[in-house]
Amino acid sequence: MNVLAAAWLIARKDLRVEWRSRELIYTTLFFAIACVLVFSFAFVREDGRPIENAAAGILWVAIAFSGTLALGRTFERERQAETLRALLLAPVERASIYLGKLLALLALLVGIEVLLVPIVGFLFQAPMLRAPWLLAALVLAGTVGFAVVGTLFAAMLVRAQSRDVLLPVVLYPLTVPVIIAGVRGTGAIFAVEPNLPMAQTWLAMLVSFDVVFLTVALWTFAPVMRD
């Protein structure tokens, strides 16, 4: 079985399990919205006007925090009945296991962002429709970068006892370039005087990060999962 077919099989299984339990969808979405609401109490003035340029940062903080929550749980499921070992025993390349988990996580995070981005736009009066495709591309590319690194580390830490604490500790420093590019690019769209060429530049940087991180993750996943 080729890598992509096996990856699709694993992703489809993950999505089916999630659809049955809806555990990750509800907890991650609730956490993301709670995050944004807390920030809105802090950064929206009493007259209803938000502090300038806050929306982009808050959107990416909510994506990073809720994404970390989803990442931890997605491998916790495989650990509970040792099904990760069953995946490792299958005659498929290790890369397909990584890609399958990544695809399922991306589908989940993108589904949550479809609701999260308009909520941020509404609460912080951000011009969501100024460059909708560019905004969508920035959010998608940033999410891919975050998930690519996060999936690798979640897999590495699956047998560590303090994995819930360790995951954000190792993940956030490595995803700083993704978060910075996401915040700057989104901020360039939301600014009072928008700078769309600058947003495109940040998007190009995000895509570059994604390619580099994905290459490294595919290269290192098999040795990481040995033993």
């Binding site: 089916r16 399990v17 049955r20 009945a81 099904t83 069953a86 025993l89 005659p91 033993d227």
Partner: protein, 246 residues
Amino acid sequence: MSPAPSSDRLSDFEVVTVTGISRFYGRRRALSKVSLECRTGTMTGLFGPNGAGKSTLLGILSTVIQPSQGVVRYGKRPADEWGDVLRARVGVLGHDLFLYGDLTARENLEFFGRLHGITRITARTDEALSAARLTDRAGDRVAAFSRGLRQRLALERALIHDPRLVLLDEPFTGLDDASTGLLTERLRALRTSGAIIVMATHDFDTADGLVDQAVCLENGRLAPIAAGEGRLRERYRRALDEGLPR
């Protein structure tokens, strides 16, 4: 000049040879210079107290754990020369059952069957459900199954791709007498079909008369349990009393 081996022979093996393997976890030694040979159509019983290294040895045979020293050969080749193909010839029933609780019995079998590249997946899944006597529960979520039902399903999951090497870790756990009898018959049929079966168990009564060779592990060291007179449990105790090689 000898004839070239067929592609079937290249993707299969008839003997597994463990030679001098040791496994360390940090400074703790889980296995020490273990050697063992298991041939096609035989069942090897692996006995020993908890923490003796049985699961580590099964993990090494299944290729998911690397030995710190020594080599395991499948046929004439070690695992790293086989690559992914070897895992298509190995079936594992672990102490944890490797099943997704939120999927149905049929979905679990179909998922693992597809992952192993089985083409006639619906027919093969029906056969497996029938063998597990779960045809009428095929659409139920595994989370709702008792331990015994899950154990039966997990065994069929492990066998769905007709593996040559079958590794079983405590396969009788949670089974009632009728299910234990059925599993025993299933294992005998597997052995007759040419499988190499390695089974770790504490169930001496069930294993007595079932296994072709018995070995015991203690503190990572392995010794054969002599065939001969007396019950398997007594022979195991004698093997432990006589002491294992240092």
